[in-house]
Symmetry: C2
Subunit: 340 residues, 2 copies
DNA sequence: TATTTTTGTTCCATCGTTTGAACAAATATA
DNA sequence: TATATTTGTTCAAACGATGGAACAAAAATA
């Protein structure tokens, strides 16, 4: 069963009375090899169950055709959908992907970067962990000459290709909608402002409130990791405060779910007493009772575009100009914010 | 910035007036190299920012120190926790892991196996997709001489190391508990019986019913993919039937969540009218209202043990005996089934 | 027919690391 | 002191695939 040691290009050569290099050229469709030999080589390759040795060819060619993808968490529809679409696009172009997750931890992220660089991937497509403020490891990717594309969570200083949505505008969509539903006291369960996307959401939220002449209360902007517990705890905190908001805009769906749980546990009518809007269009948002309004981030598009950005880099290695693609956010109104 | 081309063992050798092989041996702590040179080499390695070339060393050694992990879905706490623990254990032993997901699709699974074999991982640790009935690709792994360890979803015919829980016994725990809560009409939202673990859960469920002299109704055993929609749809089906069950045992937590939603939407009191038990102890089961009783599968242990099984194989390559580790399931009783 | 061009293949060096064998120098044993 | 052993290093051949240069044979052109 395990007796047949893998066959190499040499075995094919020997079987046909050719040289290894002729076989290699035949397999790679070199123009100077006759159709006859090409055919014979390919047939023999099948017969001997030949599998090209990835390691040797990558070593020789200096190219692995592997792309590393780093995402914060894998159990999020947004991220796993982006990865799926990256994979689809890259597979079509002869690349395989290696998916890794940072679990939102800086240390883990650094370790994953090191592993990927060690395996000598041709490029890395990443979305940064919540914890990450030190960009040193991302600089390392660039300095190693490995292509780098960021999506969603990316910092401008890195000066690399980026795909994401307009977070600032998303907040305007949310606030405008809530105002249209007669909400006047809108709180924001935010992500940490050291991350660009969350900073922009906060910024957009404030500007939109100002636009509608609504008060900006600092204790109504609470930053967190946006985990389910964070949503629960912060919602409780908002309920316990002297003045309650009549709407809560949560910068992440999972935290929004936690917030919804607390609202229901406190017998607060959603959306009548407090309206709720999340962010990311995670599948469960349409399944909760009431269903949660949210922002569609176009995960499928983001994945496809990020992969294309990488492929572009590979085919134009000297190109220096950086490409930032910003998609339009889309508000999905569901029960949790539909008052009228 | 990208000017410094990566330095090799040759550069270190040149800088110190040594041969590449001496440097290689020094870096690998060969006993015949003097402490003095070892030190000098290691210092120079740091100075030149030397990174060993994974491809060449893997090629030469015929060993990549990479392990592929294939799981059905990544957005499940059970699987991601198993992976986390596999990774922790393997990292300690000088291995890196490559995580892939099959999305429960046979075709995807085959593709992932091919990719992993191509990259020449030293081993694969996997849990099979729901769809998988053809074991051909798993045979391929074995025939390539790559180590294979299965966990949770694994078939005995493959005759490889396995780590899982006692699924048959799990059903007994669930049924015994429901009976103790005065449930008499227990339905089972099952997984497909072509998958061993689900077959055993069904088997255990039937035997346990029999043990308590309860009727086994065939239309109360409904097999599915156990997605959230499946849970919803089957629960509705059970409610629409002439005779309603007074308890539902669901073979997966996500489907149990779907079932719970439908129960609540129909204003059925849980657990008073219908009790509910899930499977896997996904984190959300403790967050729902009411919280869901479930089975703890010991994901942390499974990951650790699977990794150890692999490491064992690597250190005793000739060993032929197959190791099957079966852990004890643990019932976690929460509100959804606590009637008394 | 002599010369150039094209075609199909072989030759050989290379990617970077590893490893057994060989060898000289230093040290230990007789 | 002669011989055996140990120590530290170099040599050379891999691992498997690749691709430019070289070369002979066939075909095309003069």
């Amino acid at each position: 069963m395990e007796n047949k040691k893998k066959s190499t290009i040499k075995d094919i050569a020997a079987a046909l009375g050719l040289t290894p290099s002729a076989v290699s050229k035949a397999l790679n469709n070199h123009p100077r090899i006759s159709e006859k030999t090409k055919l014979a080589v390919k047939e023999m390759a099948v017969e001997l169950d030949y599998q090209p040795n990835f390691l040797s060819s990558a070593l020789r060619k200096g190219k692995s055709n592997l792309v590393g993808v780093i995402i914060p968490r894998v159990n999020s529809h947004f991220f796993s959908s982006v990865v799926e679409n990256i994979e689809k696009m890259l597979n079509l172009n002869g690349y395989n992907i290696i998916m890794t997750q940072s679990n939102e931890l800086y240390a883990k992220e650094c370790q994953e970067i090191d592993t990927l660089l060690k395996i000598q991937v041709d490029g890395i497509i990443a979305s940064m962990a919540n914890e990450t403020t030190n960009l040193e490891f991302y600089e390392k990717i660039k300095s190693r000459g490995t292509e780098l594309v960021l999506f969603d969570r990316g910092e401008e200083e890195l000066n690399v290709d980026y795909v994401g949505i307009d977070d600032y505008k998303s907040s305007h969509l949310v606030v405008d909608h809530l105002v249209s539903q007669n909400c006047k006291r809108i709180a924001h369960i935010a992500g940490f402002h050291h991350i660009r996307i969350y900073k922009e959401r906060i910024h957009g939220y404030k500007d939109a409130l100002e636009k509608w002449n609504l008060d900006i209360q600092d204790n109504w902007i609470i930053e967190s990791n946006l985990r389910i517990e964070d949503g629960r705890q912060i919602m409780q905190q908002l309920l316990d405060a002297p003045e309650r908001p009549d709407a809560v805009y949560v910068a992440g769906d999972i935290a929004a779910l936690g917030a919804l749980q607390v609202l229901l546990e406190n017998n607060i009518k959603v959306p009548e007493e407090i309206a709720l809007v999340g962010f990311s269009d995670e599948p469960f948002t349409s399944l909760t009772q009431p269903s949660i309004s949210t922002i569609n981030q176009h995960s499928d598009q983001i994945g496809k575009l990020a992969a294309e950005a990488f492929l572009n880099r590979m085919s134009h290695p000297k190109k220096k100009t950086v490409n930032r693609i910003i998609l339009e956010p889309e508000l999905i109104v569901r029960q949790s914010s539909k008052r009228i």
